[in-house]
Amino acid sequence: MSTTTHKAPSRPNLVAVGTIVWLSSELMFFAALFAMYFTTRAVQGPKLWLESTGMLNVKFAAVNTTVLVLSSVTCQFGVFAAERFQARRTSTLWRFSKWGMREWFALTFLMGAFFIGGQVYEYASLVHEGLSFSSRAYGSVFYLTTGFHGLHVTGGLIAFLIVMVRVFKAQKFGHSQATTAIVVSYYWHFVDIVWIALFSAIYLIK
Protein backbone atom coordinates (compact mmCIF):
# COMPACT_ATOMS: atom_id res chain seq x y z
CA MET A 1 0.00 0.00 0.00
CA SER A 2 1.20 3.46 -0.75
CA THR A 3 1.08 4.53 2.90
CA THR A 4 4.20 2.54 3.70
CA THR A 5 6.41 3.75 0.86
CA HIS A 6 8.94 6.30 1.97
CA LYS A 7 8.55 9.68 0.34
CA ALA A 8 10.57 12.83 0.86
CA PRO A 9 8.94 14.96 3.59
CA SER A 10 7.09 17.48 1.47
CA ARG A 11 4.65 18.55 4.12
CA PRO A 12 4.41 18.25 7.89
CA ASN A 13 2.63 15.14 9.09
CA LEU A 14 -1.03 16.18 9.27
CA VAL A 15 -1.79 13.80 12.15
CA ALA A 16 0.95 15.46 14.19
CA VAL A 17 -0.21 18.97 13.23
CA GLY A 18 -3.78 18.09 14.18
CA THR A 19 -2.68 16.70 17.52
CA ILE A 20 -0.64 19.83 18.29
CA VAL A 21 -3.59 22.09 17.46
CA TRP A 22 -5.87 19.97 19.64
CA LEU A 23 -3.38 20.07 22.53
CA SER A 24 -3.28 23.86 22.38
CA SER A 25 -7.08 23.87 22.76
CA GLU A 26 -6.82 21.42 25.68
CA LEU A 27 -4.46 23.91 27.27
CA MET A 28 -7.33 26.41 27.23
CA PHE A 29 -9.52 23.84 28.97
CA PHE A 30 -6.96 23.69 31.76
CA ALA A 31 -6.73 27.50 31.65
CA ALA A 32 -10.41 27.56 32.65
CA LEU A 33 -9.69 25.19 35.54
CA PHE A 34 -6.71 27.25 36.70
CA ALA A 35 -8.83 30.42 36.47
CA MET A 36 -11.50 28.72 38.59
CA TYR A 37 -8.89 27.77 41.20
CA PHE A 38 -7.36 31.25 41.44
CA THR A 39 -10.71 33.03 41.49
CA THR A 40 -12.05 30.80 44.28
CA ARG A 41 -8.80 31.35 46.18
CA ALA A 42 -9.19 35.12 45.87
CA VAL A 43 -12.85 35.07 46.85
CA GLN A 44 -12.66 32.61 49.76
CA GLY A 45 -9.80 34.34 51.50
CA PRO A 46 -6.53 33.19 53.04
CA LYS A 47 -7.97 31.51 56.16
CA LEU A 48 -9.81 28.71 54.35
CA TRP A 49 -6.87 28.20 52.03
CA LEU A 50 -4.37 27.98 54.87
CA GLU A 51 -6.28 25.36 56.80
CA SER A 52 -7.17 23.37 53.67
CA THR A 53 -3.69 23.29 52.17
CA GLY A 54 -2.39 22.19 55.54
CA MET A 55 -4.11 18.88 54.91
CA LEU A 56 -2.15 18.24 51.72
CA ASN A 57 0.67 15.72 51.73
CA VAL A 58 3.19 17.64 49.62
CA LYS A 59 5.98 15.06 49.92
CA PHE A 60 3.79 12.26 48.64
CA ALA A 61 2.59 14.43 45.77
CA ALA A 62 6.20 15.33 45.00
CA VAL A 63 7.12 11.64 44.67
CA ASN A 64 4.11 11.13 42.41
CA THR A 65 5.13 14.15 40.33
CA THR A 66 8.66 12.78 39.94
CA VAL A 67 7.28 9.47 38.67
CA LEU A 68 5.13 11.28 36.10
CA VAL A 69 8.03 13.43 34.91
CA LEU A 70 10.25 10.35 34.57
CA SER A 71 7.47 8.62 32.63
CA SER A 72 7.73 11.44 30.09
CA VAL A 73 11.42 10.59 29.75
CA THR A 74 10.69 6.90 29.12
CA CYS A 75 7.96 7.94 26.68
CA GLN A 76 10.50 9.98 24.71
CA PHE A 77 12.87 7.00 24.56
CA GLY A 78 9.93 5.04 23.14
CA VAL A 79 9.51 7.73 20.48
CA PHE A 80 13.18 7.46 19.54
CA ALA A 81 12.67 3.71 19.11
CA ALA A 82 9.54 4.36 17.02
CA GLU A 83 11.40 6.83 14.80
CA ARG A 84 13.95 4.17 13.95
CA PHE A 85 11.04 1.76 13.36
CA GLN A 86 12.05 -0.53 16.19
CA ALA A 87 8.91 -2.08 17.68
CA ARG A 88 10.44 -4.56 20.07
CA ARG A 89 13.71 -5.16 21.89
CA THR A 90 16.61 -6.76 20.09
CA SER A 91 18.33 -8.16 23.17
CA THR A 92 17.60 -9.36 26.69
CA LEU A 93 15.22 -7.44 28.96
CA TRP A 94 18.11 -5.96 30.97
CA ARG A 95 19.79 -4.26 28.00
CA PHE A 96 17.88 -0.96 28.13
CA SER A 97 19.73 0.46 25.14
CA LYS A 98 18.30 -2.31 22.97
CA TRP A 99 14.72 -1.74 24.03
CA GLY A 100 12.10 -1.11 21.39
CA MET A 101 9.05 1.15 21.44
CA ARG A 102 6.95 -1.58 23.05
CA GLU A 103 9.18 -1.89 26.15
CA TRP A 104 9.56 1.86 26.68
CA PHE A 105 5.83 2.49 26.27
CA ALA A 106 4.96 -0.39 28.58
CA LEU A 107 7.24 1.14 31.23
CA THR A 108 5.63 4.55 30.66
CA PHE A 109 2.22 2.95 31.09
CA LEU A 110 3.23 1.37 34.40
CA MET A 111 4.60 4.66 35.69
CA GLY A 112 1.46 6.48 34.59
CA ALA A 113 -0.66 3.85 36.31
CA PHE A 114 1.45 4.34 39.46
CA PHE A 115 0.68 8.06 39.28
CA ILE A 116 -3.07 7.36 39.06
CA GLY A 117 -2.79 4.92 41.96
CA GLY A 118 -1.05 7.62 43.95
CA GLN A 119 -3.80 10.12 43.13
CA VAL A 120 -6.52 7.69 44.17
CA TYR A 121 -4.70 6.98 47.44
CA GLU A 122 -4.30 10.69 48.07
CA TYR A 123 -7.99 11.36 47.37
CA ALA A 124 -9.01 8.54 49.72
CA SER A 125 -6.85 9.81 52.56
CA LEU A 126 -8.04 13.41 52.08
CA VAL A 127 -11.70 12.36 52.09
CA HIS A 128 -10.97 10.37 55.23
CA GLU A 129 -9.57 13.53 56.83
CA GLY A 130 -12.68 15.48 55.88
CA LEU A 131 -11.75 17.18 52.61
CA SER A 132 -14.28 16.01 50.07
CA PHE A 133 -15.72 17.37 46.83
CA SER A 134 -18.64 18.99 48.61
CA SER A 135 -17.21 19.69 52.07
CA ARG A 136 -15.91 23.16 51.25
CA ALA A 137 -14.97 25.37 48.34
CA TYR A 138 -11.31 24.31 48.47
CA GLY A 139 -12.39 20.68 48.11
CA SER A 140 -14.41 21.56 45.03
CA VAL A 141 -11.58 23.25 43.18
CA PHE A 142 -8.92 20.79 44.35
CA TYR A 143 -10.82 17.73 43.17
CA LEU A 144 -12.03 19.37 39.96
CA THR A 145 -8.57 20.48 38.84
CA THR A 146 -6.60 17.39 39.88
CA GLY A 147 -9.50 15.10 38.95
CA PHE A 148 -9.76 16.39 35.39
CA HIS A 149 -6.01 16.05 35.11
CA GLY A 150 -6.25 12.48 36.39
CA LEU A 151 -8.91 11.73 33.77
CA HIS A 152 -6.55 13.10 31.11
CA VAL A 153 -3.75 10.86 32.38
CA THR A 154 -6.12 7.87 32.30
CA GLY A 155 -7.06 8.73 28.73
CA GLY A 156 -3.37 8.84 27.91
CA LEU A 157 -2.87 5.41 29.44
CA ILE A 158 -5.65 4.03 27.21
CA ALA A 159 -3.93 5.72 24.25
CA PHE A 160 -0.68 3.90 25.10
CA LEU A 161 -2.60 0.63 25.13
CA ILE A 162 -4.10 1.44 21.74
CA VAL A 163 -0.65 2.25 20.30
CA MET A 164 0.77 -1.03 21.53
CA VAL A 165 -2.20 -3.07 20.25
CA ARG A 166 -2.05 -1.21 16.92
CA VAL A 167 1.64 -2.00 16.46
CA PHE A 168 1.03 -5.61 17.45
CA LYS A 169 -1.87 -5.98 15.00
CA ALA A 170 -0.08 -4.36 12.10
CA GLN A 171 3.00 -6.56 12.51
CA LYS A 172 4.99 -4.34 10.15
CA PHE A 173 6.23 -1.09 11.72
CA GLY A 174 5.92 1.71 9.18
CA HIS A 175 5.32 5.45 9.09
CA SER A 176 1.70 5.14 10.17
CA GLN A 177 2.63 3.29 13.37
CA ALA A 178 5.49 5.69 14.09
CA THR A 179 3.10 8.63 13.67
CA THR A 180 0.68 7.13 16.19
CA ALA A 181 3.50 6.65 18.69
CA ILE A 182 4.72 10.22 18.18
CA VAL A 183 1.32 11.88 18.64
CA VAL A 184 0.60 9.86 21.79
CA SER A 185 3.95 11.09 23.14
CA TYR A 186 2.95 14.69 22.36
CA TYR A 187 -0.18 14.15 24.44
CA TRP A 188 1.78 12.58 27.28
CA HIS A 189 4.31 15.42 27.42
CA PHE A 190 1.41 17.88 27.46
CA VAL A 191 -0.26 16.05 30.36
CA ASP A 192 3.06 16.04 32.21
CA ILE A 193 3.63 19.78 31.75
CA VAL A 194 0.08 20.56 32.87
CA TRP A 195 0.68 18.50 36.01
CA ILE A 196 3.88 20.41 36.78
CA ALA A 197 1.89 23.64 36.56
CA LEU A 198 -0.95 22.18 38.66
CA PHE A 199 1.49 20.83 41.26
CA SER A 200 3.20 24.20 41.52
CA ALA A 201 -0.08 26.08 41.86
CA ILE A 202 -1.77 23.74 44.33
CA TYR A 203 1.06 22.24 46.38
CA LEU A 204 3.85 24.81 46.19
CA ILE A 205 2.27 28.24 45.82
CA LYS A 206 -0.88 27.31 47.82
Binding site: T3, S24, F34
Partner: protein, 132 residues
Protein backbone atom coordinates in the same frame (compact mmCIF):
# COMPACT_ATOMS: atom_id res chain seq x y z
CA UNK B 1 6.12 27.76 7.04
CA UNK B 2 8.05 30.81 8.13
CA UNK B 3 4.92 32.95 7.80
CA UNK B 4 3.03 30.45 9.95
CA UNK B 5 5.48 30.37 12.77
CA UNK B 6 5.98 34.13 12.75
CA UNK B 7 2.21 34.51 13.04
CA UNK B 8 1.87 32.17 16.00
CA UNK B 9 5.01 33.23 17.84
CA UNK B 10 3.98 36.85 17.30
CA UNK B 11 0.55 36.11 18.75
CA UNK B 12 2.14 34.35 21.68
CA UNK B 13 4.33 37.37 22.48
CA UNK B 14 1.36 39.71 22.07
CA UNK B 15 -0.72 37.70 24.54
CA UNK B 16 2.18 37.56 26.98
CA UNK B 17 2.57 41.34 26.88
CA UNK B 18 -1.19 41.79 27.24
CA UNK B 19 -1.24 39.49 30.26
CA UNK B 20 1.40 41.62 31.98
CA UNK B 21 -0.43 44.85 31.13
CA UNK B 22 -3.71 43.37 32.32
CA UNK B 23 -2.12 42.35 35.60
CA UNK B 24 -0.65 45.82 36.06
CA UNK B 25 -3.91 47.69 35.40
CA UNK B 26 -5.57 45.61 38.10
CA UNK B 27 -6.95 42.59 36.31
CA UNK B 28 -8.61 39.65 38.01
CA UNK B 29 -7.60 36.02 38.23
CA UNK B 30 -9.63 34.63 35.32
CA UNK B 31 -8.35 37.21 32.86
CA UNK B 32 -4.71 36.95 33.83
CA UNK B 33 -4.76 33.14 33.75
CA UNK B 34 -6.60 32.87 30.48
CA UNK B 35 -4.61 35.52 28.62
CA UNK B 36 -1.33 33.97 29.82
CA UNK B 37 -2.41 30.51 28.74
CA UNK B 38 -3.64 31.86 25.41
CA UNK B 39 -0.03 32.87 25.00
CA UNK B 40 0.79 29.25 25.76
CA UNK B 41 -1.72 28.08 23.15
CA UNK B 42 -0.09 30.18 20.44
CA UNK B 43 3.35 29.16 21.68
CA UNK B 44 2.63 25.42 21.40
CA UNK B 45 1.55 25.77 17.76
CA UNK B 46 4.27 28.32 16.99
CA UNK B 47 7.05 26.23 18.48
CA UNK B 48 5.89 23.14 16.60
CA UNK B 49 5.73 25.02 13.29
CA UNK B 50 9.15 26.63 13.93
CA UNK B 51 10.67 23.25 14.73
CA UNK B 52 9.18 21.73 11.58
CA UNK B 53 10.20 24.71 9.49
CA UNK B 54 13.84 24.01 10.31
CA UNK B 55 13.35 20.37 9.42
CA UNK B 56 11.31 20.71 6.22
CA UNK B 57 12.65 23.85 4.57
CA UNK B 58 10.80 25.60 1.77
CA UNK B 59 7.36 24.15 1.21
CA UNK B 60 5.19 24.83 -1.88
CA UNK B 61 2.91 27.07 0.17
CA UNK B 62 5.82 29.39 1.02
CA UNK B 63 7.39 29.39 -2.41
CA UNK B 64 6.16 32.39 -4.44
CA UNK B 65 7.08 30.69 -7.70
CA UNK B 66 5.38 27.39 -6.84
CA UNK B 67 2.76 25.76 -9.04
CA UNK B 68 -0.43 24.10 -7.85
CA UNK B 69 0.97 20.77 -9.01
CA UNK B 70 3.83 21.08 -6.49
CA UNK B 71 1.32 20.50 -3.70
CA UNK B 72 -0.01 17.33 -5.26
CA UNK B 73 0.39 14.01 -3.56
CA UNK B 74 -0.95 12.02 -0.71
CA UNK B 75 -2.15 14.07 2.24
CA UNK B 76 -2.75 11.19 4.58
CA UNK B 77 -5.19 8.43 5.39
CA UNK B 78 -8.78 9.55 5.91
CA UNK B 79 -11.44 7.05 6.82
CA UNK B 80 -14.04 6.81 4.03
CA UNK B 81 -16.87 5.83 6.37
CA UNK B 82 -17.25 4.20 9.76
CA UNK B 83 -19.94 3.07 12.17
CA UNK B 84 -17.67 3.31 15.20
CA UNK B 85 -18.23 6.96 16.13
CA UNK B 86 -21.82 5.98 16.98
CA UNK B 87 -21.05 3.53 19.82
CA UNK B 88 -18.35 5.88 21.09
CA UNK B 89 -20.82 8.78 21.21
CA UNK B 90 -23.62 6.68 22.72
CA UNK B 91 -21.28 5.36 25.43
CA UNK B 92 -20.10 8.86 26.23
CA UNK B 93 -23.72 10.09 26.40
CA UNK B 94 -24.66 7.21 28.67
CA UNK B 95 -21.67 7.98 30.89
CA UNK B 96 -22.83 11.58 31.21
CA UNK B 97 -26.43 10.54 31.75
CA UNK B 98 -25.24 8.28 34.53
CA UNK B 99 -24.26 11.38 36.50
CA UNK B 100 -28.00 12.09 36.71
CA UNK B 101 -29.45 8.62 36.72
CA UNK B 102 -26.97 6.78 38.91
CA UNK B 103 -23.35 5.63 39.14
CA UNK B 104 -24.26 2.17 37.89
CA UNK B 105 -25.01 3.60 34.44
CA UNK B 106 -21.75 5.53 34.37
CA UNK B 107 -19.80 2.39 35.26
CA UNK B 108 -21.44 0.32 32.53
CA UNK B 109 -21.06 3.16 30.04
CA UNK B 110 -17.35 3.55 30.83
CA UNK B 111 -16.88 -0.12 30.05
CA UNK B 112 -18.77 0.31 26.79
CA UNK B 113 -16.74 3.45 26.06
CA UNK B 114 -13.48 1.59 26.58
CA UNK B 115 -14.56 -1.09 24.08
CA UNK B 116 -15.92 1.41 21.54
CA UNK B 117 -12.77 3.55 21.63
CA UNK B 118 -10.61 0.52 20.97
CA UNK B 119 -12.90 -0.54 18.12
CA UNK B 120 -12.77 2.97 16.67
CA UNK B 121 -8.99 3.27 16.86
CA UNK B 122 -8.19 -0.22 15.60
CA UNK B 123 -10.81 -0.38 12.82
CA UNK B 124 -8.30 -0.13 10.00
CA UNK B 125 -5.58 -2.23 11.54
CA UNK B 126 -5.32 -5.36 9.50
CA UNK B 127 -2.36 -7.69 9.88
CA UNK B 128 -0.13 -6.98 6.89
CA UNK B 129 0.08 -9.60 4.15
CA UNK B 130 3.60 -10.59 5.23
CA UNK B 131 2.22 -11.99 8.49
CA UNK B 132 0.45 -14.85 6.72
Amino acid sequence: MKASYRLFVGLSLFYAVMAVIYYLVGGEAVGITCISLSSGLAAIVGFYVWFNNNRLGLLPQDNVTAEIADGAGELGFYSPHSWWPLPVALSACAAGLGLLVGWWLTTIALGALFISVFGFALEYEKPSASAH
